[in-house]
């Protein structure tokens, strides 16, 4: 540790920045490669269309039948749609490379495991940003239809919540796709994990140890506050740490080829 600190101090700051920049550039290159391959296959478009149809339908139903500008139910459902759709996006990330045998190529290149995992993660995250970006007509239309009286604050916090929630969900997908070379298994395992995270929300109403624990670990429970216009540091940190945890596990899995 002391050595590392010394080394850091010894290095000129310019050089350090250059190194970090280089590291990021490689990561982004992996991400870009992933985005390109994702959006040149049908998967990205079908999942996007599926996502938009459902989100659009819920929006229509709440605005028309519910006659309310309170879009909390929409954003809760968007999160549920995400855990159905995201496994299809993430299933191929590392599993595909493994199946095609290109993973070895990637891993033996001067790219580190963290760069591979992070690049793959960012590639899938790009999909999420596009998907959510395409729903921005919702706050716009509500704003127009309500004559500008709607409080858009909760909408923006809901989007922030979805970006964090999505990050955690994608990292779960990255982890499972690192573990298996079968895309179907990867997708189902991701879906299963996210479903479990959803089911765990049910016993959160109530007192007692079980409810307490569920409230702490449930992604959806923590996400709900975002949809109400409230951002809490504990929830933000939870999502970021969860994302990091699964990416870290994915890196460990990739590293395991050295000893398996």
């Amino acid at each position: 540790m002391a050595q590392a600190t010394k080394a850091l101090v010894a290095v000129k700051p310019k050089e350090t920045f250059a190194r970090i920049g280089e590291w990021l550039a490689v990561t982004l290159a992996v991400a870009l490669r992933e985005v390109r391959s994702l959006f040149s296959s049908w998967v990205a478009y079908v999942t996007l269309a599926f996502f938009e149809i459902w989100a659009g339908f819920f929006f229509f139903a709440i605005a028309r039948i519910g006659q309310t500008s309170d879009m909390r139910y929409l954003f809760w459902n968007v999160a549920v749609i995400l855990f159905i759709v995201l496994p299809m996006v993430t299933m191929r990330l590392l599993a595909e490379e493994r199946r095609l045998g290109t993973l070895e190529l990637l891993l033996t290149s001067p790219v580190t495991d963290w760069q591979v995992v992070l690049g793959k993660f960012l590639g899938a995250y790009y999909w999420l940003v596009i998907a959510l970006g395409l729903t921005l007509y919702v706050p716009y239309l509500v704003y127009r239809f309500s004559g500008g009286t709607v409080d858009l604050g909760p909408y923006w916090t809901a989007y922030i919540g979805l970006l964090l929630f999505g990050a955690a969900a994608i990292s779960v997908g990255v982890f499972w796709s690192a573990l298996t070379d079968n895309q179907i298994i990867s997708a189902f395992a991701t879906f299963g994990t996210l479903l479990l995270a959803y089911v765990i929300t049910w016993p959160t109403e109530g007192t007692g140890t079980l409810a307490e624990i569920c409230r702490k670990v449930s992604l959806y429970y923590r996400y709900q506050d975002f949809t109400a216009g409230l951002i809490q540091s504990k929830d933000v940190i939870f999502f970021l740490l969860l994302t990091f945890a699964f990416l870290y596990l994915a890196v460990q899995v990739l590293g395991s080829r050295k000893w398996r």
């Binding site: 996007l48 540091s233 504990k234």
Partner: protein, 512 residues
């Protein structure tokens, strides 16, 4: 034994899975039925035994694996993963305890007022809050969100929102029928709030957690209604009602005590028939000047008018009696149905009950003076109609309005507030009648609730009163036909179709 050993070895995977399942069953039993210790302990024992057996029978292999290069790297990876995850769990735990919130709503819906926070943070006993709401209603979400804020501010407050139809046993336990009830419980004390918001919830919290009881003194010795008598003219029912509401009720004889006691939260003068001695008046006056609380109920002359005090508060008591030709009971013009509550904290609970009234019996005419003394906030709570008048000869044959008898409206109830210091306020409620709260009449209409509410307002700490309700912007959205069609076509048809078409184009160009 040897065969068994072989069997276990051959089915290592199966044994391992069985052990895992047993542990999982144990875990779920532990949460579902924590009191059935033997059940989950047994499941855990079975699971552990299977795993230990597995390890024991495979001891050589396990050992060999861990000694090998691969094994060491594997163990290293697993252990460091477990360690890293442990650190993450710890970080989440720390983050949960040191939370900062950003409320991104226009009305700051998720931020408790400073007054509430002051109350909530000072609570040092367990409080259970259970709200009963229809799970499908917007109110359910609103109340749950609100209660969560209380819980976040002080973890000793445990909150829960349930649907009484889904948990009828719980509803029965808390004597709740219907929805919209929130029960606050601490130290065996219970407080119910019907609907309501932050203000009411905080008020209920104060009531259930407060240790000392607010004390109400009834002045006696001048022909007032006897505070503990259950005769028709007594106040016994009001007294026991107040005691149920967590008040302490005592009598005050100023001639022997000289000053108003320090623990007096509210002083009640209920229909004095004889004037107070100057020393007594002086004692009450100095009590009021220090931020005292007084409920003054007058009676028609010849009972004393307390005009020197009323003058200071911007009121004026007249002789005679108020008669109400329209809103009276069975032609008795002196028995007045008092409708039309003005908006005030005393009358807030009655705002919705437009059809109900307080029944006053022989009320003294009180008028608001044209000028209110500076520093005094005077609010009329109830007034008579414009067709009422001051009758001087009620008991002398016909009643009719003579030229010298001025007409209404008269003040039947008024609230007076006067700042003493920044935090302390003198509060007075003046009522034109004292009979309405006697045992004979207190059960009529809103009489009991009104009397209790006057005392609540007088006794309550300011924190209850100063929380302004948050004006939520309307959330209703009405789509015109055109807007409906546009929304559907755009969000369900055009946008997804455009995505699919662009996918098709990409696919086609790549193929060619």
């Amino acid at each position: 034994m040897k065969r068994f050993r072989q069997l276990v070895k051959a089915n290592a995977l199966l044994v391992g899975i069985l052990g895992f399942i047993a542990i999982l069953i144990g875990l779920s039993l532990y949460f579902a039925q924590p009191d059935k210790k033997w059940a989950w302990a047994f499941a855990w024992a079975v699971g552990l035994a299977l795993w230990v057996g597995l390890l024991a029978f495979h001891f050589e292999e396990v050992l060999r694996y861990f000694i090998s290069q691969r094994g060491r790297m594997g163990a290293n990876a697993v252990l460091s993963s477990i360690f890293a995850l442990g650190v993450l769990v710890l970080l989440v735990y720390i983050a949960d305890r040191h939370n900062a919130s950003l409320d991104w709503t226009k009305t700051k819906r998720h931020t408790l007022s400073p007054q509430t926070l002051r109350v909530v943070r000072n609570i040092n006993k367990e409080v259970n809050v259970i709200a009963f709401y229809d799970v499908n209603s917007q109110e359910f979400v609103r109340v749950r969100d609100l209660l969560k804020r209380y819980e976040a501010a002080n973890p000793k407050i445990k909150t829960r929102v349930v649907d009484p139809r889904i948990e009828p046993a719980l509803a029965r336990q808390y004597e709740v029928t219907g929805t919209g009830i929130t029960v606050f419980e601490a130290d065996g004390k219970r407080e119910r709030v019907s609907f309501g918001s932050e203000k009411e919830f905080t008020g209920a919290l104060i009531k259930v957690t407060r240790d000392e009881k607010p004390t109400v003194y009834f002045l006696q010795g001048h022909g007032e209604h006897t505070y503990d008598s259950f005769a028709d003219e007594g106040y016994g029912m009001l007294k026991s009602g107040l005691e149920q509401l967590n008040y302490q009720v005592k009598e005050l004889k100023l001639l022997t005590e000289k000053t108003v006691p320090k623990d007096c939260d509210v002083l009640v003068i209920a229909g004095a028939q004889r004037d107070l001695f100057p020393q007594e008046k002086q004692a009450i006056k100095s009590y009021l000047d220090k931020g005292g609380r007084l409920l003054l109920m007058l009676e028609p002359a010849p009972a004393p008018s307390f005009s020197d005090w009323l003058n200071e508060w911007g009121l004026e008591a007249k002789d005679g009696m108020v008669v109400e030709p329209a809103n009276n009971i069975l032609g008795d013009a002196a028995a007045i149905f008092a409708f039309g509550f003005r908006f005030h904290d005393v009358t807030r609970p009655f705002q919705k009950a437009r059809q109900e009234a307080v029944l006053f019996i022989t009320a003294r005419p009180i008028k608001r003076k044209t000028e209110t003394p500076s520093g005094v906030v005077l609010t009329e709570l109830i007034e008579t109609s414009a067709s009422s008048w001051r009758e001087e000869k009620l008991f002398q044959g016909f009643i009719r309005k003579d030229p010298n008898e001025e007409s209404g409206p008269f003040v039947l109830a008024a609230a007076v507030e006067k700042s003493v210091t920044d935090k302390k306020k003198t509060r007075i409620v003046v009522l034109a009648d004292s009979d309405f709260a006697t045992n004979r009449f207190i059960r009529n209409l809103l009489n009991g609730a009104f009397a209790a509410n006057c005392i609540h307002w007088l006794a309550e700490e300011d924190v209850l009163i100063d929380i302004p309700p948050k004006d939520e912007p309307p959330q209703t959205l009405f789509l015109s036909r055109q807007q409906t069609v546009f929304t559907f076509v755009w969000s369900v048809i055009v946008l997804p179709l455009a995505i699919l078409i662009s996918g098709l184009i990409v696919w086609l160009t790549r193929r060619s």
